[in-house]
């Protein structure tokens, strides 16, 4: 079976669902971040697949670069917040952190 656009789209849909499952089920905040990275990668596969099968106009690849930039910024800020939460609460399990203020 010839690999076309649909194969890439199905791959990214499955990757997105796996990331969604990880975000919803994990207790550890860092695992939630890993799920978010999976979701962003799935979106990027879609952008680049449409860029390739839409005639190589490269707009999708430019957007993919912005997605990667924002993923880097998001990971840095989120991990800084997670470290701060760990110093305060001595845990990073998102189901135990339920106080806004002590």
């Amino acid at each position: 079976m010839q690999v076309t656009l649909t194969h890439y789209l199905i791959l990214s849909a499955v990757l997105f669902s796996l990331g969604l499952y990880g975000v919803v089920t994990r207790k550890n905040a860092i695992m939630v971040l890993m799920g978010i990275e999976l979701i962003l990668n799935a979106a990027n596969i879609n952008f680049i697949a449409f860029s390739r099968y839409g005639g190589m106009r490269l707009d999708g690849q430019a957007i993919a670069v912005f997605v990667i930039i924002l993923a880097a910024a998001e990971a840095a800020v989120a991990l800084a917040i997670v470290l701060n939460i760990y110093q305060r609460f001595k845990t990073v399990n998102v189901d135990e952190i339920n106080k806004l203020k002590e």
Binding site: L15, T25, K27, M31, I48, V77, I81
Partner: protein
Amino acid sequence: MNLFDIIFYFFAFITLASAGIVVFSRNIIYAAFSLLFTFFGVAGIYVLLNADFIAVAQLLIYVGGILVLLLFGVMLTNKVVSVDIKTGTLQTLPASLLAAMTAGSICGVFYATDWKIVQSVPDVSTTTHRLGEMFLTTYLLPFEVASLILLVALIGAAMIARRGKTIF
């Protein structure tokens, strides 16, 4: 089934299998290291889609930056020497239902849509030159805003994560 298809299925298998380990593994270190293989598989998919610059950027930024950052986060927030490295899950049944329904509906939409595919690839030896031109012409403002966001986010992250002084 030619060589291109075999390579696609190889990279897709690597990506999905290691993503499955990321999501289902109880050990957070195993999950972080299999995320490495997921990123490698996705980079291979990018190469198959004629996106050489994005593939290299994926390897440099995701594997070299974000993954190392996540591993540092794991090391700094878990008691690595004790048994506390395991991570629990909650609400697995509704979450699996949700994920399955999402995957089913998205795949259904992808199958049902009649995509207008341009099968012939125009002359693309490398994409880096054209991407650079686009960033300095069409996408100049988003490019500058993205660089500013990255600068602000990194300085802010360093401020927030300073040791000894909690801001919150």
